[in-house]
Symmetry: C2
Amino acid sequence: MSGVNERAHKASHRTPDYAASGPGDLSVHRMPGHFIRRLQQVAVRLFGDCVGPELTPVQYAALSAIAQRPGAGQAALAALIGYDRATIGGVIDRLEQKGWVARSGSPDDRRLNLLAITPDGQAALTRAAPAVLAVQDKLLEPLDPHEREAFERMCLKLLAHHLG
Amino acid sequence: MSGVNERAHKASHRTPDYAASGPGDLSVHRMPGHFIRRLQQVAVRLFGDCVGPELTPVQYAALSAIAQRPGAGQAALAALIGYDRATIGGVIDRLEQKGWVARSGSPDDRRLNLLAITPDGQAALTRAAPAVLAVQDKLLEPLDPHEREAFERMCLKLLAHHLG
DNA sequence: CGGATATTGACAGTATGCATACAGATCGTA
DNA sequence: TACGATCTGTATGCATACTGTCAATATCCG
């Protein structure tokens, strides 16, 4: 299985998603926000299919960031990958349970939970990396190289505008 | 407030998101999947800012679809907007609590919950529509008209490939 | 120094999102 | 027409996400 939302496929023959609809349409099928939501669904599904259930996209991003920047606190980590402080705690809980990340208090600032990746975590990261890269490739598969570059550039432009 | 994840802004001065990083980088800052996740965050935040807390993006999509296709069951509705059957139930629960949607059993097929929008729901939809359209515009604001068209076309191409 | 302010991690509450499982209903077909 | 395959809505469990709040801790500034 690899389709998104195949459990709800009835009546899709009546109005397939992304079918033509008139201008001034108030439905979601022409809204960029909806496209992005659907693409997010596709990306998450693709990740699960390629990488497996051991590591979610969110957990991969966190683990990768911890490996890249050991000794950061949870808030710093969250800022690095765009998570919410309230969410990152649970993500790290689950990585800690798997033995892939270690939390340790900082002597300098007793508010901080210093984060570090464990050898097992590093191994899991290394193991997952090829599949994660494959996901990115499959995601943009239908675009030719020129389009891919344009797509990524526009994404970055949008993010720089809205986050910067 | 309008920024995404402002509660985790420490250390972002150390490594701003989307800063340059070498090729072969295993971190998420060059991965299309991550871009899409961040864009989804931006879109949801923008929606909340423009439309208000009465209606979430998901609830708007559902309400709009019910208005467009009254008398559909939950599964049909889910297929129409790309939701999961298990998720749509809760969404409709909340719309029903607000008095914007009515569930009624079908005499023809006793499995179905026929869905219909109420006058209050229609009013809420009409009230929200301009703001929802404004969100789409703001989302793609940094792109010029040509780029917008290209971006939407590529999104549709990606979705058609992965969902079709 | 000491109070005002800001930061950090945690928790509760709400809302998606998906997998799995289940009971009831319907349908296709032997 | 009986029966197995399929479909529908629901419930449960897990994993994001974000808001508001709080206690402990730092930091800043007079």
